[in-house]
């Protein structure tokens, strides 16, 4: 589904990603871990199409298409979803109104008919149950005055509404207490299918107790320096990142 090949990316002349290689197949969950400043969020942003990042080298193929050629909204239409680490506030625009625009523009791009208000609300009701989100929250201005937990839950709700093929969760666990974490993870698990894939970007192993990865990759200084299965995450939890740093230094 996704193939990242020797990806180099920089921001304001500073190289952040220095040759990422990663392949994600349908049905898989990949965790990307690493110390702060290793380039995890940059990778998520580059995949979603943030323009402040310059691609210096390499390629990203998604479902046979050159992902880097697509505008951010085209990537979304193709099924790429990014759950933001810091969801953005849009005053005066309700989540419902926002999502209606998003869902219908995506449908139009895929050659489907727009949903009318009634059908849209019906779909929304179903998905609300899935992530246990309150109607009242969806009528409020998007993310404005939301608590950390509400914002993250809202991200997962949007993910449920947009039914992505490739979901990238950027530090979705940051700022969440354990109950909120469980609810969010539960939502993600329910949305999992053999046809879609998930990339979980996280600093801590904690989230991976609830969203169990098939593969764990350690990102350090802009490269994936180690890959393994979920036991690698536990090892990192026990020993921290220092031993990885030492290994890299020894090379």
């Amino acid at each position: 589904m996704l193939k990242i090949d020797n990806l180099h990316a920089s921001v304001e002349g500073k190289e952040i990603l220095k040759g990422i290689n990663l392949e994600v197949k349908a049905g898989e969950v990949h965790a990307i871990m690493g110390p702060n400043g290793s380039g995890k969020s940059t990778l998520a942003s580059v995949l979603a199409g943030r323009e402040e990042y310059e691609i210096e080298e390499g390629s990203v193929t998604y479902q046979g298409k050159d992902l880097l050629e697509l505008a951010p909204e085209e990537r979304a239409h193709a099924g790429v979803f990014l759950a933001f680490q810091y969801p953005v506030e849009i005053p005066g625009v309700s989540t419902t109104n926002f999502l209606k625009t998003a869902v219908n523009q995506t449908r139009e791009a895929r050659g489907l008919k727009s949903l009318d208000a009634v059908s849209f609300l019906k779909v929304m009701k179903e998905k609300m149950k899935l992530v246990d989100i309150d109607q009242a929250l969806l009528s409020r201005a998007l993310n404005e005055g939301f608590s950390g937990g509400e914002k993250k839950r809202n991200e997962i709700f949007q993910m449920a509404m947009l039914e992505p093929t490739l979901s990238i969760l950027d530090e979705t666990d940051s700022g969440l207490d354990i109950d909120a974490l469980k609810i969010v993870a539960d939502g993600v698990n329910k949305l999992k299918s053999p046809d879609n894939a998930t990339i979980v970007v996280t600093h801590y192993q904690r989230l991976l107790d609830y969203i169990v990865p098939d593969y764990v990759h350690v990102l350090y200084q802009g490269r994936i320096v180690k890959s393994g299965d979920k036991s690698l995450a536990h090892e990192l939890e026990d020993k921290g990142y220092d031993w990885i740093k030492e290994e890299v230094a020894a090379l």
Binding site: R50, I90, V93, T101
Partner: protein
């Protein structure tokens, strides 16, 4: 090129959609202003002597006045002698019904999206359409007249209801109130007149469409709304003008009179041609709008969505004379490219327990300058007066400006005056967030801007709100921030 610049680039490349003009024979006065021109206009309209005298007095005063230079706008000197002050679409005889109206003219309105016939049938909005200087046709007159409501062109009112016109004309905005009001008083060519008798609730929105068509023509319309005791009316005003290289002058006056327990809602969607992306052409819009809450418990509410004009100078105001009277001002002003807007309101509290509320949302993009200028004056006698003002500015890009000039004068200690102001920028983050959800840039801007302006938009009557939303999106098309 940063994302901001790119977006601004796209933004500025958007052309004005209503830019076309229709050729039909016009009956024009030669360019220039002098007593003879005023006599010519007055004679054309077969006006009574008192009105001609009123005009001439205003003109005399105007020649002694100086153009105001205090607004935060810059424009080259206007050649008042180069402007044509009267241009009527030529018609052989006065139309008795829509069928007799020049089909070219009707087509003009259809292109504006306000087919009179359609509106008549579908929306139940009564429309008085003013093109250049003459009111073309008024719909729904019969339905309204059964209730005793008078809604007609100003010229017609002068002929049919001279006593009402004489009583109220200039009673809220005196002929010599300010430079542009004086000019208007001297040369106004037409406009709308609306009279709601005591106890009558006008069952439909009354609507006027203004359009400037002929080149080098100024438009000076005058609107007078009188709401007698316990009456209610909601009035809509829409404006468009074709695209021209020269700047065109527009100086209108709107007067509203509200008696005891009366309520008047006045909504404007202004979309005059703003000039091209290099700042060439566009309308100079110098408008005086004022309402008086003369009776106790009366209420006047101004709502405006200002997207057009090269220069806007406009302060719809309320004189709160009656006890417990209320004034409201809700405004969205969008400026782009080289547009300049200096707009706001004045709330003059005279009566006891008077209340006013000001919500102003300014959106600046391109190289435009957008100023809010507002005055809240609590006079000595105004016991327990209340005012709440909120002025929010939204900036798109880093070449535009937003300014706020609040003036507060309080002469009574029991007053409560609140003022809140915010300035924000449409963020790349917001746009990217929308895009990541599948919303393209243009729709994202429209969404964010409409969210920002929501509080004001929600005050517009439904049919107008939809148009206004589209206009906002159109004005800011391609932009981001």
């Amino acid at each position: 090129m940063s994302k901001d610049d790119q977006i601004l680039e796209e933004f500025t490349s958007k052309e004005y959609e209503h830019g076309w003009s229709v050729d039909f024979e016009a009956d024009e006065a030669p360019a220039g202003i002098n007593e003879d021109i005023i006599r010519f206009i007055s004679a054309k309209k077969e006006e009574p002597q008192w009105l001609l005298d009123w005009r001439l007095k205003a003109f005399k005063k105007w020649t002694e006045m100086k153009e105001p230079r205090w607004p935060n706008v810059k424009y080259p000197d206007i050649d008042y002698q180069g402007v044509k002050y009267y241009s009527a679409p030529k018609q052989d005889k006065k139309p008795k019904s829509l069928d007799e109206v020049d089909p070219e003219l009707l087509k003009t309105f259809e292109r504006l999206g306000i087919s009179l016939t359609e509106q008549k049938r579908l929306t139940g909005v009564a429309v008085d359409a003013v093109i250049d200087s003459v009111s073309v046709a008024t719909t729904f007159k019969e339905t309204l007249s059964e209730l005793g409501i008078i809604f007609c062109s100003f010229s017609e009112a002068v002929q049919e209801h001279p006593e009402l016109v004489k009583k109220y004309l200039g009673s809220v905005v005196p002929a010599t109130d300010n430079y542009f009001a004086a000019l208007n008083s001297a040369v106004f060519s037409d406009g709308s007149f609306c009279y709601i008798p005591s106890g009558v609730r006008c069952p439909m929105e009354l609507s006027t469409y203004f359009r400037i068509n002929a080149a080098n023509t100024g438009q000076f319309e005058r609107t007078l709304i009188v709401a007698e005791e316990g009456s209610y009316v909601s009035y809509l005003e829409g404006c468009t003008a074709p695209q021209r290289d020269e700047n065109q002058l527009h100086a209108a006056v709107v007067e509203i009179y509200a008696a005891k327990d009366a309520e008047v809602k006045y909504s404007t969607v202004q979309n005059w041609y703003p000039g091209d992306k290099n700042g060439k052409g566009g309308i100079y819009n110098f408008v005086t709008k004022r309402g008086i809450c003369d009776g106790d418990n009366s209420k006047i509410s101004w709502t405006q969505v200002e997207t057009g004009s090269a220069v806007t100078w406009k302060y719809p105001s309320c004189i709160l004379k009656g006890d417990n009277s209320q004034g409201e001002f809700y405004s969205v002003a969008v400026t782009n490219n080289y547009q300049q807007a200096d707009t706001g309101t004045k709330m003059i509290h005279i009566g006891k327990n008077t209340k006013s509320r000001i919500v102003s949302k300014g959106i600046s993009a391109g190289k435009s300058q957008n100023s809010y200028r507002g005055q809240v004056h609590i006079m000595k006698r105004a016991e327990n007066a209340r005012n709440f003002s909120q002025c929010d500015s939204l900036l798109m890009g880093d070449k535009c400006g937003a300014h706020t000039f609040p003036y507060i004068d309080v002469e009574n200690n029991s007053a409560q005056v609140e003022h809140e102001a915010t300035t924000s920028k449409i963020g790349e983050d917001q746009i990217f967030y929308c895009q990541q959800r599948g919303i393209d840039e243009e729709s994202a801007v429209a969404l964010i801007v409409n969210g920002f302006a929501k509080e004001v938009m929600s005050k517009l009557p439904m049919e107008f709100a939809v148009e206004a939303q589209k206009l906002l999106a159109l004005t800011l098309e391609g932009s981001v921030g």
